[in-house]
């Protein structure tokens, strides 16, 4: 009883965090007009595709009487074949994402969740099934799934760098990974190759803070990861800049190579840029793949 109560209490508190994220995600998704998403061939679907003369074998129910009453011939109304894809999302919940170099900027985690949820909303509206990688939330359709996603993303992970979840991937589905990819790269490599093995293709969106791109620090400094697990002390931060940027470029290169090898698409987003641009890229990239 007590446990249930506290759970209820906690989930209420958690739920109170949801609406703003949901609302913002809805608002962001609302800025993208849904394009055509059909398969350009007749099949099961809602949209009109063509009228064709009734043939033997068509059941009487299939005859479109409105069209047939204009003449002597009987017509059948065909609809465009629309197929639902399964899209699996993974948004990095690690502590490293909860960072913003300026108090006016949103944290990387916030931005990543916003983009993930907005993408999910768009996909659900387009009739696709959306879920999380792993076994926690398999792809489903409908608005209830959005709320479940939002719930799942309202919890922070403890560890500094969360490895991509790559279990229980549905073969030939699509996937979206959003993270800063600053953690160990071999985990990412493992996830992507495993996905490629199963024929899963998708998108990798790297979200970085402008502070991580420019390294505007000087003087004697102790750098700490957000979780506090890693630290590095330097006497002259300004001198490290060149070498740091070099390493960052290398990291990006490695990601690009990995993506090229596995057939995934790689995007880069900075948390001081407009979220809409990133959402558009995500949507077009997904749409291009499905269409």
């Amino acid at each position: 009883m007590n446990a249930a109560l506290t759970l209820r209490e906690r989930s209420e508190a958690e739920a109170s965090r949801l609406p703003p994220l949901l609302a913002r995600a809805e608002q962001l998704a609302g800025t993208v007009l849904l394009g055509d998403h059909g398969r350009r061939r007749s099949g099961l679907g809602d949209d009109f595709w063509q009228y064709r003369p009734a043939q033997i074998g068509d059941s009487r129910r299939m005859i479109d009487h409105r069209r047939s009453a204009r003449g002597d011939q009987q017509f059948v109304r065909e609809r465009e074949w629309q197929i639902a894809q399964s899209v699996m999302l993974w948004v990095d919940q690690g502590a490293s994402m909860r960072f913003a170099s300026d108090k006016n900027l949103s944290t990387k985690a916030d931005r990543a969740r916003l983009l993930g949820l907005a993408t999910a909303i768009l996909l659900v509206r387009g009739g696709e099934r959306v879920g999380l990688t792993g076994t926690t939330l398999p792809p489903r359709r409908g608005n209830a799934q959005i709320i479940r996603l939002a719930e799942a993303w309202s919890e922070d992970a403890e560890s500094d760098y969360a490895p991509p979840e790559h279990r229980a991937m549905i073969p030939h589905a699509r996937a979206v990974f959003i993270s800063d990819f600053l953690g160990p790269l071999d985990e990412v490599e493992l996830a992507l190759t495993k996905a490629a093995d199963r024929g899963v293709r998708g998108l990798v969106l790297q979200v970085l803070d402008p502070g991580e791109e420019t390294f505007p620090y000087r003087g004697r400094t102790i750098f700490e990861s957000v979780g506090g697990s890693v630290r590095h002390e330097t006497l002259k931060a300004g001198d490290l800049r060149e070498r740091y940027l070099e390493r960052l470029a290398k990291r990006k290169d490695a990601l690009t190579r990995l993506c090229r090898a596995t057939g995934w698409q790689l995007g880069l987003h900075h948390s001081d840029d407009s979220a809409q641009a990133a959402l558009l890229w995500l949507y077009r990239a997904l749409d291009g793949g499905t269409g």
Binding site: L182, F223, V226, H232, E233, K236, D239, Y244, R247
Partner: protein, 920 residues
Amino acid sequence: MTVLAGIGFTAPWVLMGLLTLPILWLILRAVPPAPIRRLFPAVTLLLGLRDDESVSDRTPWWLLLLRMLVAAAIIIGLAGPVLNPSRDQAGSGPLLLVLDASWAGATRWSTTLDQIDVQLTEAGRAGRTVAILRLTEPEAPVFQAAEAWRGRLPGLTPTPWQPTRAQVDMALSAMEQVDGGFDTHWFSDRLTYEGHEAILSALRARGDVTVYQAPSPAVAILPATYQDGVIQLSAQRAEPGPADRITILAQGRDPAGAMRVLQSAEMEFASGETQAQVELSLPSELRARITRFEIQGERSAGAVTLTDDSLRRREVALIAGSLNREGLELLSPLHYLTQVLTPTADFVDGGLLEVLPANPDVIVLADVAKLAGFEQTALVEWVEQGGLLLRFAGPRMAASDLGRDTEDTLLPVRLRSGGRSVGGAMSWGEAKGLSPFPENSPFYGLQVPEDVTVTTQVMAQPDPNLADRVIASLSDGTPLVTRKALGLGQVVLFHVTADAEWSSLPLSGLFVEMLDRLAVSSAAKSRQESQLQGTTWEPIQVMDGFGVLSDAGNLPGVDGVELVTSQIGPDLRPGLYESGKQKLARNVLTDETVLSPAVWPSDVPIKGQEVSTETPIGGILLSLALLLLTIDVIASLALSGRLGLVRAAAVALGAILLVPEVQAQTPESTDFALSATQELVLAHVLTGDQQVDDIAAAGMRGLAQTLFFRTSVEPAEPIGVDLERDELAFFPLLYWPISPDQPQPSAEAYAKLNAYLRSGGMILFDTRDADVARFGAASPNGRKLQQIAAPLNIPSLEPVPRDHVLTRAFYLLQDFPGRYAGTEVWVEAAPMDAEQIEGMPFRNLNDNVTPVVIGGNDWGAAWAIDRNGQALLPVGRGYAGERQRELANRFGVNLVMHVLTGNYKSDQVHVPALLDRLGQ
């Protein structure tokens, strides 16, 4: 004291500390700044990156230099550096410092004190005893240690007079009491005086005399005189010198009461001349405000001259009972008064109510019996604030019942009915002469001519206080002039006419002198000795040696003749004196004064007054160190990237400093002003009756809606105005529904309302009773309106004429119905001379907006709508009622348009269009 490179050090060994600076440099150089902790997710990419140098990021050289400077400044500052260390001078034995200490040295008094201080220091170092002798306040010299005198230096001040003969004698006798010889240092003001030589020879008999004198001679200003419409100013300098230019400042109180320079004039001393003149021509208003002239840059009593009544031309308003007999100037009751006053006073023309705001000094009412109620009130107020009301009797006053039963506020005595006449053809007795003036009379001392006779007069009732109020009487004891004080001012009644009909007094010279004594007129000639005979003057403010006025305290009064003729001294200080209502200024210099320079024998050494004082600069250096430390803190923070913290602290500090200022404003009144002024706002007066107020508010909302939809006037939500609390100036129109039980506004509220009406506001009074009583007292609302409007300044009214601008300000209207229809609406009456021009549909009427519109049609109820825009109350019946509501709305639109655009639609430009629309 050790002197290094012109700078002395009191503790030179502290300078050894400078040797530690290089060590400090090495230590500071070795210590790197403290690290700063930062969160950084990409720290994984940093792992393994090594710093190039093991002791890198060291303190930059300029920061080190800054810190070295701080250390050096502290060390040198503690070593007690002194600029201009004085070199010792020879001398021994007692030293007498003789000071003139007159006004002539006041400007450079601080230099003199500095020099005396230096002398005392030197004397103290040489172990000499010192005495100080001020010739303007001589005391027996007491030789004491120099340090004992030092504490008394600030108490030495210059006096506003030169040493007088008596003081010189006292000084001489004081010196005789001193045994033995002494050296003298004489601080001279460069002016000579009686007994100068005697003192010099007495001093030289006792020892060496050295004279210190100021580098420039004294400059003084003579009393200002007023002649031929200009102020004559002249200045004098003691010694002829090269051409020089000085500026004279005329100071006085501005209308706000603050002292300020009202005018300045340049004055030039020609080369070799000691006199300079300038003439100042000023308007009389400005002239009357001047209280003193002074020479710019001089700080002495001689450079200041105070002004008194002699500069001031009094402003007199003459008002007679009737002045409509044109052409009979010689018969005007004011003729003799005008003749007397023209040379010495300025006249203020106009009716009583027009001249009162000009605040004249004197108002003369010649044979005025009856004053309107508000005129009386205003006049009483003016007298109580210090005005002089001078009244003359006459046939009208004798015939009226003025002051018959009770004493009139504006009459000194009660009057008997009718008056009396003596010495005429139809009466017994002879014309009466005047008896000599009693001692308590302001006329005391004036010679009574034999030929002044009185034939007719008004008689005072013998009340208990009559005797105190009589200031002149006839030979048989009947009062001729009576006076009473009223507030700060006074009321004087001449029981005869101002012309020669009742007496020959206005024809005599005595009349002029009497007016003069009453301070009706005032002129320089009243300062003559004969005029001052027998008067005593009480000092109000006296000047010190620097020319600063201060309260006279309990200084004794001075005889009038002495005040003008005596020499300035401890018994007669320069300043402002008062006798009765007259004021007289006694200045340091009089017209006869001639300044003559002090002459010294050739074997007396004369020194200038250059002082080089020792200046300890340790404090400056320590402050500099603190300042540098502050810079060091900011620079260190900037280096380690923590300057943001400082910025935040500065912002917080600024916020703390600024917040009280913000709170000092009263937010409530500001909010009200903001809400009332951001948009046009219609307002209604809160009556206290909830129902009436609600309907008024709804009515204003309805009118605002109508205006919003139909015109470019877009009012905001209406405001209910509390007359006692709220400022009215923001509203163009006030709707005032009358309810019988609303409270009477307070006096302050009425003042606000009157100011509001004067400045172009409009009040729409609505009795809401369909005007059944036609504004009589028959309806409770009508009665209330009368009560409320009585204290308001409302002009004469008339029912809206057919060509009033209200009938065409926006809509063309014939009548102005509200919830009731067809009763008259009253507005400000058209001027009498408005005439209709042939062919024009309307007259040229008032230029202004009518301040009030009064009616009883209950417009508010007709305009009223609820929040949904539905009419709140029914009007009339059926469709005809809606038509009436529409007309009521149109009236509202016209009214607001009239308020906002004034008589714009009265302009003849609109005639053709209006004629077209009227179908004529």
